[in-house]
């Protein structure tokens, strides 16, 4: 369980929140605190007050994978292979053969083997997101945090990536998305507004409160 207690960070105010294993989507207006929430769960940002606990441990001692909302801010290395290998190389406890095998297996699962020897600067926005996601998954994190990763993916690719995320073995996946057709395919949904979590529950529970707003899934308006 991810337990959040009396959290205060920038504009974010969460008195109490529990997130179970599975895929949790975070939705809400721009600037409502979604990214700050993800950063606190990843341990990238320390809250001014309160705690985030992941199965009893603080985020900074938990294996996490992170994909930034700015694709160019994810990537450190010039070549795709080196970028995906970097989390394993930084651990300094993995043999070169194992790193190579891990990178190739991860790239294959993401269908990006053809990109491994490409320069990152030559990639499209969507391809950069796939590389960032591969780098986040290559070390099999317990918690996977994805900040609007799908805003650069077409629908078919987003569906394929969704399958990869589900098969990744990450116990907790927390993802911000502005695609409501993606949000409906989640185990849990959080709706943020002005720094607070105003609705939580299953997608059906939460969207029941959002009927007649722009956030209500277009497909559901068509009877799906």
């Amino acid at each position: 369980m991810i337990a959040i207690d009396a959290l205060r960070c920038r504009n974010l105010v969460i008195d109490s929140l529990a997130i179970g294993p599975g895929i949790t989507s975070v939705i809400g207006p721009n600037g409502s605190g979604k990214t700050t929430f993800l950063r606190c769960c990843a341990g990238i940002e320390l809250p001014h007050h309160g705690t985030v606990s992941i199965d009893g441990a603080v985020p900074r001692v938990t294996e996490t994978g992170w994909v930034n909302e700015f694709p160019d801010r994810n990537i450190l290395f010039a070549r795709v292979y080196d970028e995906i290998a970097s989390p394993l190389r930084f651990r300094r406890d993995t043999a070169c053969d194992a790193i190579d095998a891990g990178v190739k297996a991860c790239a294959e699962s993401m269908h990006i083997t053809h990109l491994l020897n490409r320069e990152v600067r030559e990639l499209s926005g969507g391809e950069k997101v796939l590389v960032s996601l591969a780098a986040a998954l290559v070390h099999h994190p317990k918690v996977l945090l994805l900040d609007e990763y799908d805003s650069h993916l077409d629908a078919l690719l987003a569906e394929k990536v969704d399958q990869v995320i589900r098969a990744s073995g990450a116990r907790y996946v927390i993802r911000c998305t502005q695609q409501m057709n993606t949000a409906v395919k989640s185990d849990h949904l959080l709706f943020f507004n002005a720094g607070r979590v105003t609705h939580t529950g299953t997608p059906r529970d939460v969207f029941a409160f959002l009927k007649n707003t722009a956030f209500y899934p277009v497909l559901w308006e068509c009877g799906s």
């Binding site: 721009n30 600037g31 629908a155 057709n181 956030f215």
Partner: protein, 231 residues
């Protein structure tokens, strides 16, 4: 007023894109999968990517604006106020409309991606251009902002070309184009274009299957078609 592409072609190592067609006044939507060449075509049409072959002819187009997919690449101001001024846009009005009034002296690069996109689009859309090229204008915007942006785009007087993979909230468009296997295809006007368009939005597909195809792809058209079924 139009833009004519005559076998306009870009060739790289193992990849090429060829485009032929005429873009007249109105809103055009160019769709295609990730990496298909949408951004490259936008750069070609803006005159920022040298053609390997073919030509692009501008007919009575005196002003052109390209909004890049990544708004951070077009930031030049140190503060939000300077950023608005760099686009020739009134800071007070723009910051008020984007909910950023209290942050006029902060750096644009300190904004969240959604906030930066909102600011960027408000600046770009504050003026009218003969040719307006919008590369993924909806990425990172929340649903309400996407709807507002659609309304603004529909009111633009010149040629507006949207390059996007967005499939939920879209404006009413004049013509559909698609990039696949290195080639731009003109799918034509809606609703006839549905038959030739591979990236028909799921809601449109669903309504068509139920016997009520929407006249266009905007949320208003989709709701109207859904109402016809639900009575």
């Amino acid at each position: 007023m139009n833009m004519r592409l005559d076998h306009a072609c870009v060739i790289r190592d193992h990849w090429s894109l060829s485009a032929t067609g005429t873009f007249d006044k109105g809103v055009h939507l160019v769709s295609g999968v990730t990496g298909s060449g949408k951004s490259t075509l936008a750069l070609m049409m803006a005159g920022l990517f040298p053609l390997s072959e073919g030509s692009i002819v501008k007919g009575e187009l005196s002003t052109c604006m390209l909004s890049l997919q990544f708004p951070e690449l077009q930031v030049t101001g140190r503060t939000l106020e300077e950023e608005c001024a760099s686009w020739g846009a009134p800071a007070e009005k723009i910051l008020g409309a984007t909910g950023l009034t209290g942050r006029r002296n902060t750096s644009p690069l300190s904004l969240s991606r959604g906030e930066l996109k909102r600011l960027h689009l408000a600046c770009v859309l504050s003026r009218d251009y003969d040719l307006l090229l919008l590369d993924e204008p909806f990425s990172s915007l929340d649903c309400e902002e996407k709807s507002k942006t659609c309304t603004t785009i529909e009111q633009k007087p010149g040629i507006t070309v949207i390059f996007t993979h967005e499939q939920e909230i879209l404006p009413r468009v004049f013509r559909i184009w698609e990039i696949a296997e290195g080639r731009l295809t003109d799918c034509g006007r809606l609703p006839d274009a549905y038959e030739r368009w591979h990236h028909v939005p799921p809601a449109v597909k669903r309504l068509t299957a139920l016997g009520s195809p929407p006249g266009n792809i905007s949320i208003r058209d989709i709701r109207e078609a859904a109402c016809r079924i639900q009575g």
